[in-house]
């Protein structure tokens, strides 16, 4: 029911775009730092683990590069990254909207005749959907950069082997799959916390509870939908 109110045409396009850009910056661009940091290290760690645990004389030498790429592309850059973002973005959205609710700012919007759900939530959802593909691409790229770091700096394996592995039977569809999945997750991590925050009643305790609920619920939903989406898409 809330979603129905969210997806109505904004009253003022000018105001919508203003907050759309603001939300993209706040929710998306400000998350780039953490995405890059985590992706770099996880990329490096996956590469080392693969080399140590899977690589053996029985295996072709490209296997660790290949597995690193598949893990990064298929699961890490979309699903795990979104789980992390659910914590960061979800708690942000839920606590912001929750506080607006308990300090009657949402009531004030309603009294003015503004569709508060649409005005507050739509820019967040649209902003997240817009920025998510970029985050996924950045994440995969930095992950691979991390893997190369282990090759060049850590000398865990030779860069040639890694390159060979990364290029071995590459399917561009996996990249698209990752992006499609991330779009669903982006919707989850912006709409679920928005719902939790928007429907808060009471005081600061309830805002805290709502933001916890938001993170937990969206994480669980991401995991479930991940299973279905992976089944559907691959």
């Amino acid at each position: 029911m809330l979603m129905g109110r969210v997806f109505s045409v904004p009253e003022r396009m000018r105001m919508f775009f203003k907050s759309y850009v603001k939300e993209m910056a706040q929710l998306g661009v400000n998350s780039i730092g953490i995405v890059l940091l985590i992706s770099f290290f996880i990329g490096a760690v996956i590469c080392i683990q693969m080399k140590l645990n899977i690589q053996s004389p029985w295996m072709p030498r490209w296997v660790s590069g290949y597995t690193t790429r598949e893990i990064l592309l298929l699961e890490f850059s979309s699903s795990i990254m979104c789980l992390i973002l659910a914590g960061k973005v979800g708690s942000n959205i839920a606590s912001e909207l929750g506080t607006m609710r308990v300090t009657q700012q949402i009531d004030a919007l309603e009294i003015m005749g503004v569709n508060s759900a649409s005005y507050l939530i739509l820019p967040k959802i649209m902003g997240m959907l817009t920025i998510m593909p970029f985050l996924v691409i950045f994440s995969s790229a930095t992950g691979i950069l991390g893997a190369y770091a282990t090759a060049y700096i850590g000398h865990v394996l030779t860069p040639d082997d890694l390159t060979l592995g990364l290029q071995h039977s590459f399917k561009p569809w996996f990249m698209w799959m990752s992006i499609i999945k991330s779009q669903f997750f982006a919707f989850i991590i912006s709409s679920v916390p928005a719902f939790c925050g928007y429907t808060v009643e009471g005081g600061s305790v309830n805002v805290g509870k709502a933001s916890t609920d938001a993170v937990v619920t969206s994480s669980v939903l991401i995991l479930f939908s991940d299973v279905f989406l992976t089944q559907l898409l691959s």
Binding site: T103, D107, M112, G113, N115
Partner: protein, 258 residues
């Protein structure tokens, strides 16, 4: 003019408002008074449509608000302004942006006109030099004044104030009261103020409605309160011993004069 007819509101079987019928007049500061928990805020929320009454009518100049469709309600709300107890300013926006917000949302004015209108409103509430500050950086009294400026930005016909004086010192309260009364008279607004500040009641009470346990106990103007024989009302207004003695003295003095 806002008319309320036989308004009932209950929550989960418990009746909070019972058969309220009254009128709020144009160009006057209409006060709703009553103890905490008597249903003042619920009544106001019913008037503005944040809650729906269980039964009864709310007529805005003859237009029935309760029976309106969602779309009509939204249009109706553009004629209303409301000042919340906690001021409810948007804390991500500066003071000027807060006042400009309704204009940004609903008017077709240019940026320059909107800025000018917002500055005029801020001038009207005697607030200077705080335009670029954020709501968190200004005092409670200033926040209230910004809230008033925001509420009058679109020239509302109806102004609702939920305890505008709570948390303010008596002197600032007087300033706010005078401001509200001044604006009400200047623009001929129907102003409804929810209060339990007795200074406001005596000062700007041009039409007072006393709510007691969910029903309308008394209605009148401030000058009638002193001589009212409604014990519930006098008990409520003159709650402390000091005030009781004062009332007694006033009555005796007037009695000896006659």
């Amino acid at each position: 003019m806002i008319e309320v007819r036989n308004l009932y509101k209950s929550f989960e079987g418990r009746e909070v408002l019972k058969d309220i019928s009254t009128t709020f007049e144009d160009g006057k500061t209409n006060l709703i008074i009553g103890q905490s928990g008597s249903g003042k805020t619920v009544l106001m929320k019913n008037l503005v449509g944040l809650l729906d009454p269980t039964s009864g009518q709310v007529l805005y100049d003859g237009r029935d608000f309760v029976g309106m469709s969602k779309r009509e309600k939204v249009m109706m709300r553009r004629e209303m302004g409301m000042i919340f107890q906690s001021a409810a300013l948007f804390d991500s926006l500066t003071v000027l942006e807060n006042v400009m917000f309704p204009l940004d949302m609903f008017s077709t004015m240019t940026l320059r006109e909107r800025t000018k209108r917002a500055m005029d409103c801020l001038d009207r509430v005697n607030l200077h030099g705080a335009e670029e500050k954020f709501p968190g950086e200004i005092s409670g009294g200033m926040q209230k004044r910004v809230a008033i400026a925001r509420a009058i930005a679109l020239n509302p016909k109806y102004l609702f104030c939920d305890e505008p004086n709570s948390g303010l010192d008596p002197k600032t309260s007087l300033v706010i009261d005078e401001l509200l009364q001044g604006i009400t008279r200047e623009f001929n607004i129907t102003t409804i103020i929810n209060t339990h500040d007795m200074n406001s009641v005596m000062g700007i009470g041009e039409n007072i409605i006393f709510i007691y346990e969910g029903h309308k106990e008394w209605q009148g103007v401030s000058s009638q309160i002193m001589h009212s024989d409604n014990t519930r009302l006098t008990d409520f207004i003159f709650a402390s011993d000091l005030l009781k003695n004062m009332r007694q003295l006033v009555i005796e003095k007037e009695g000896s004069n006659v």
